[in-house]
């Protein structure tokens, strides 16, 4: 059983590959995508993804656009933005539209893991609340 399921999105293939290996070694289940569109496809096919690690600067659909799409289709999935320094502003913009946090590249593994854990916990909390709310709704209806 993995600690959490992560979707890693970046156009830098070697970066994604190494990251995947390192995260997998730490008992995370890692899905990968090399573009914004691919990320959306993966999410569509794999509902188990809890946290998306998303590079801001990508060719084609960029991180912000991808974030918007993810948040509108899968509002409970948490997103951590990954950025070079020049795009801190856009990472902050991203947080305004619902990203969980941002990290600067190259990032410290421990830091990353801590953030991912937090994000996954929040997602689970949200889901828990929704389940509770549904149960309450059903029980109140029955009563």
């Amino acid at each position: 059983m993995s600690i959490a399921t992560i979707l890693l999105v970046d156009d830098e293939v070697p970066f994604v590959e190494t990251m995947t290996k390192r995260l997998a070694k730490r008992d995370f289940q890692v899905e990968t995508a090399f573009s914004g569109q691919a990320a959306l496809d993966v999410l569509e096919n794999n509902r188990g993804v809890e946290v998306v690690i998303l590079d801001v600067k990508m060719p084609g659909m960029d991180g912000i656009e991808t974030l918007k799409q993810i948040k509108s289709k899968y509002p409970l999935v948490e997103v951590i933005m990954l950025t070079g320094h020049a795009t801190v502003e856009s990472a902050i913009d991203g947080m305004k539209i619902g990203a969980f946090d941002y990290l600067m590249k190259p990032c410290d593994m421990d830091q990353l893991i801590a953030k991912v854990m937090d994000a996954a916990k929040r997602k689970r909390d949200h889901e828990e609340k929704i389940v509770q709310a549904r149960i309450q709704a059903i029980t109140t209806r029955q009563a």
């Binding site: 830098e12 070697p14 970066f15 190494t18 990251m19 290996k21 390192r22 070694k25 600067k57 070079g84 320094h85 020049a86 600067m104 590249k105 190259p106 990032c107 593994m109």
Partner: protein
């Protein structure tokens, strides 16, 4: 410079000519009009004065002659023929006339039809003198009374006579009296105006009837001749202007009298008659010339000054353009640097991750026993450490090269300076320069644009490092402090220094001591412009071979001063 001095010379000339034209044309027309009007009216006044004198004297002379004639007429009418033939009676009458009128009457004579003077009283021995063939007798015998022209006569003295005809036994006889020429002449010669104005009488043939007190210096016949064609004023006086033989302009005024037989002429040199006019003329020419010189001088000075200003404005514009270009260049270099930094960031991230992966793998059992494990771990750590260093560098560069924005915001100078010092660490090492900082930890914030301030500080750093490179190293000290109502940053180097002669030119645009192509001469000028715009000031003190200190002085805004003014111990 793009503007050569020829351009400015032409500009000065055009401006000069325009000012002169605009100033002179109205002055010229106004002066000319006034002068012409004055000329005309003064001329009229002068001439009317002369005319008045002429008329007065004409009346005077006419009445004098009439009176003499009347005297003789009275004598003739009041005395019988026998009395007139008696010389003692005539002598008695002569004495009487002389007693009343002075020595005007010289003698009296009674002449018969044949022209023989039958009776005579006077100083000359003219009894029985015959006048039969004289010109005047012929005319006198035909008229009831007659006044002759001046003639020498038998006595050989200039004189003229008045005659009255008397009929004796059906034949015309004549009673005549001689009028003293000198007495008569004095009446005319006393007409004097100015220094050259005088009068005289001539007859129709141009013979003088009185003695002119000055030489006429002109052909009197020509004058008389010309008078007949001259312009006649409404009171019968004719005005004539002639140039005499010696080149003098003379004004003549004449009027006919004694039944158009005599011409009373008054003449005066124009320079004398119109002396006042000429004086005014000279004064106005003087004023005009002085004014003209003043206008020309002022026009020249103004043109020079204006063009000087224009030249300065052109230079400033040029500098501004250069500054804009320079800023644009800096901005694009900044963006380029940002791009490169970003691109490098990704490979570095991958390298760091790969190193991390190796570290992860080293945890595995099978490699744990390798004898070189220690070394490998060491190497991987080193890779990671260097990767972090790269990251730091690119991040600094990126934070620096963010889009230049000139928005005002509060700036903590200590942080800004720390960042820049960080950027210069590497370069200063190569230049063998030690950078030391001495920051006031309680430095208040100032208002300004971060990117502009960076530009200023970096420019000063570059200059300082350049100056110290020449000396193979040195020390750069950056100090921040608060003083009264301003924050001061001192950037002090111990480089080659600035010669005193250049010290007050270093902020001039295009002033550079670097070789052609190495410096634009705009760096400090741009710094100066930026700091001035922020309301601050740049000061410089320098000694050759000892070093230079640039001080940036920024004013604190009101809020900061207020906040600072409060007690801080709370």
């Amino acid at each position: 410079m793009q503007f050569d001095s020829e351009y400015y010379k032409i500009l000065v000339r055009n401006m000069f000519l325009t000012i002169i034209t605009v100033s002179f044309v109205p002055v010229f027309f106004v002066s000319a009009t006034i002068f012409y009007q004055f000329n005309v009216s003064h001329r009229e006044k002068t001439i009317s004065h002369i005319v008045e004198i002429m008329q007065k004297h004409k009346l005077h002379i006419d009445s004098f002659l009439q009176q003499k004639l009347a005297d003789i007429l009275f004598l003739e009418k009041s005395s019988g023929i026998t009395n007139l033939l008696s010389e003692p009676f005539l002598r008695q009458q002569l004495l009487l006339l002389q007693k009343i009128y002075g020595p005007v009457f010289v003698d009296i004579g009674f002449i018969n039809t044949q022209g023989v003077q039958v009776a005579y009283a006077g100083p000359y021995a003219l009894e029985k003198a015959s006048y039969e063939n004289t010109e005047w007798f012929g005319r006198a015998i035909e008229r009831p009374f007659f006044i002759s022209d001046v003639f020498l006569g038998l006595r050989g003295m200039p004189h003229f006579i008045v005659t009255v005809r008397e009929t004796v036994q059906g034949n015309p006889w004549i009673l005549r009296a001689t009028i003293d020429f000198v007495e008569f002449s004095n009446m005319v010669t006393q007409i004097r105006v100015g220094s050259t104005g005088f009068a005289y009488i001539v007859n129709r043939d141009g013979k003088f009837q009185t003695k002119p007190i000055f030489d006429i210096q002109d052909s009197i016949e020509a004058v008389v001749e010309e008078f007949s064609r001259a312009q006649i004023l409404d009171n019968g006086v004719r005005i004539l202007e002639r140039r005499t033989s010696n080149g003098k302009e003379v004004l003549y005024a004449g009027t006919w009298m004694k039944n158009n037989e005599w011409l009373l002429i008054y003449q005066q040199n124009k320079s004398d008659a119109f002396s006042e006019l000429y004086r005014v003329q000279w004064i106005s020419i003087g004023i005009f010339l002085l004014g003209g010189i003043a206008i020309v001088t002022m026009a020249w000075l103004i043109a020079q000054k204006m063009v000087g200003r224009i030249a300065i404005a052109d230079r400033e514009k040029e500098a501004m353009n250069q500054q804009v270009i320079e800023t644009g260049k800096l901005a694009s270099i900044g963006e380029l640097a940002a791009g490169i930094a970003h691109e490098i960031n990704n490979p570095v991230a991958i390298m760091v991750e790969e190193a991390g992966w190796i570290q992860d793998l080293l945890e595995e059992e099978d490699v744990r026993n390798s004898k070189n494990l220690e070394e490998i771990e060491q190497a991987v750590r080193q890779i990671r450490a260097q990767g972090s260093r790269c990251k730091e560098i690119t991040h600094k560069l990126l934070s620096f090269a963010r889009k230049t924005d000139s928005r005002k915001q509060p700036i903590q100078l200590n942080h800004l300076l720390t960042d820049i010092v960080g950027l210069y660490e590497q370069r200063s090492k190569y230049s063998n320069v030690k950078i030391t900082t001495d920051f006031d930890p309680n430095l208040p914030m100032i208002e300004g644009s971060v990117s502009e301030l960076q530009q200023v500080v970096m420019n000063l750093f570059n200059n300082a490092l350049d100056a110290m490179e020449k000396n193979k190293g040195g020390e750069l000290t950056i100090t921040t402090r608060k003083e009264d109502r301003s924050v001061i940053v001192d950037i002090q180097d111990n480089g080659s220094g600035i010669p005193e002669a250049n010290l007050n030119r270093i902020f001039d645009p295009f002033f550079t001591t670097k070789p052609v192509g190495k410096g634009t001469g705009l760096g400090l000028s741009i710094c100066y412009g930026i700091v001035q715009k922020m309301g601050g000031d740049i000061r410089v003190s320098s000694k050759v071979n000892e070093g230079t200190t640039f001080s940036l002085v920024f004013p604190l805004n009101e809020e900061e001063i207020m906040r600072d003014g409060e007690p801080t111990d709370s």
